[in-house]
Symmetry: C2
Subunit: 144 residues, 2 copies
DNA sequence: TTTCCGTCTGTAATCATTACAAAATTATAA
DNA sequence: TTATAATTTTGTAATGATTACAGACGGAAA
């Protein structure tokens, strides 16, 4: 986790953003959201924890759990549950799909250009998740 | 779990189906697949276990786990992981979406009429899951 | 019968997540 | 400022679905 001038600007912007949503911008909250916004590998709780630990030595894993739950409740991040036994977190809340490679376990984003569905008239839809699994191009080449 | 004449025909058909796939049609395997084919509530492991226990008194939960894993590996059933901490199983393998109501926890099937995506050229796609959450029509009426 | 092999069972271990209470920090009031 | 209240954070313990594993069981073949 690098902290340069640009990062400090991000931190300030995120602080303001949280304030606008009525969330107290504690250092942990701002740091987690900033980390998720700048990382594109859909990190797990452990990865978030280990990445922020150096800059927040007192950080506890429970706080990471609490924080991502709060951020998700306010629709600031997405919880990706494509992995049955470990949640991943995505700072990109634009609508898109997730592909998980069974070989390298990497998560890929992909665009959803059109999604038409039926049978849900009168339902209130809060979240839409599209999860694909398979083997990514990179791994397919290896296994030729 | 009712066992009538029609059910016995289903059991025989499923037995043949498993044989065709090269799976030994043990009573447990046939029973689990038959149960998933005839139940439309996307049961959990516990529900499958408790439903079959009366007709298979020696049944163990581990066997239910093993069996659904086997059936899923052969694409005879779908594993629905919309629920973060408990998998559900679906005997309907036609492509469709799943909606989970946050109020009553019921799972609804819905049709997917069109799904267009990009960015996955060269990827080998094995499974496609579409999960929506929110509040179903029934619960919305209650909370008016 | 005996042997072999795959299936099934029951118990124990795993591990991400949650519960919870105390400690630390921050905000508010006097 | 100081005292008090409210919120955030921490660490440990509990939860509970899933997995690992070794032994029991059962059918088929010789």
């Amino acid at each position: 986790m690098i902290t340069d001038g640009k990062d400090q600007t991000n931190m300030q912007n995120i602080t303001d953003e949280l304030l606008n949503k009525g969330i107290k911008p504690s250092f942990i909250r701002v740091s987690v959201l900033n980390y998720l916004r700048s990382s594109f590998d859909h990190p797990t709780i452990d990865l978030i924890y280990n990445s922020l630990k150096p800059t927040i030595p007192t950080l506890s894993k429970t706080s990471v759990y609490n924080t991502v739950e709060l951020l998700a409740d306010f629709d600031l991040i997405n919880v990706v549950t494509i992995d049955k036994n470990e949640s991943r977190y995505d700072g990109n809340i634009e609508f898109h799909g997730h592909f998980k490679c069974e070989k390298c376990n990497k998560l890929y984003d992909f665009r959803l250009l059109n999604l038409v569905y039926g049978d849900l008239e009168g339902f209130s839809i809060k979240s839409k998740d599209v999860y694909f699994t398979g083997v990514c191009r990179k791994c397919l080449k290896v296994y030729l």
